[in-house]
């Protein structure tokens, strides 16, 4: 996915910013989950400080056991396992969003940082750049 990056004219190390990539949609029904993952990887490749937040239906993106063969679309959930090696700083899931959907951390494809609603609210204010998809 990193082949679409261009680093011309930018020296990222000079001014690493805190990016918050906010995922509120389920995977496959729409493209946002896939294309926001590409943004996360791009921001990390620019050596920015990236937090990925999964809330509302976004938590469904991380559900383990996705099998897309019968749909005929690409299963991109293995890519979440690579977030670590891309040095994404924090992977956050909102507790209330999980619970309302009958999900628990063990249902997710990677270990995550579980925050409650008010802690998530603080994230919006502690980051420089908020990206919604």
């Amino acid at each position: 996915m990193a082949d679409s990056l261009s680093t011309d004219g930018c020296n990222p190390l000079q001014k690493a910013k805190r990016f918050l990539c906010i995922n509120r949609r389920a995977p496959y029904g729409t493209v946002y989950a896939l294309e926001s993952l590409e943004v996360v990887l791009a921001a990390a490749a620019f050596e920015q400080r990236v937090t990925v937040l999964f809330m509302d239906d976004g938590v469904f993106q991380l559900v383990r056991g996705q099998e897309t063969g019968a749909l005929g679309v690409k299963n991109f959930s293995p890519t979440y396992k690579a977030l670590d090696s891309y040095e994404v700083e924090r992977i956050v899931v909102e507790r209330e969003s999980l619970e309302r959907r009958g999900l628990a951390p063990k249902d997710l494809v990677i270990p995550v940082e579980i925050l409650n609603e008010s802690e998530v609210s603080e994230l919006f204010e502690s980051h420089d750049i908020l990206l919604n998809f």
Binding site: Y28, D56, D57, Q66, A70, L71, R101, G102
Partner: protein, 102 residues
């Protein structure tokens, strides 16, 4: 006269399921496809809405959409019949029309 209703959006995000359940008459079938399948997760908020409708409507889910989203059949509320795309076609044939709750 019995219709096949399809619901393709997550009930957490959209109002399509609610409108469907308000209007699906006794004896009709409801097929959950795409992000609509999240309505059938046992323990999730909207599952009881569907369970409430189940005695009067037949409830179906598209297998390919469950699998893509990592939802094993055992995670679903009781009484959901699984179909593949052929089964979707068969349901459309067996009913008098298809109402898509977009």
């Amino acid at each position: 006269m019995a219709l096949l209703h399809t619901v393709n959006k997550s009930p957490f995000e959209r109002n399509g399921l609610e409108s469907c359940l308000r209007h699906a008459r006794d004896g009709s079938a409801i097929l959950f496809i795409e992000d609509g399948v999240y309505a059938l997760l046992r323990g999730a908020e909207h599952a009881t809405m569907v369970e409430h409708a189940a005695p009067r409507c037949s409830i179906y889910a598209l297998e390919a959409d469950l699998a893509a989203r990592g939802i094993e059949p055992k995670r679903l509320i009781n009484g959901v019949k699984l179909v593949d795309y052929h089964g979707f076609v068969d349901l459309a044939v067996a009913h008098d029309g298809v109402q898509s709750w977009l």
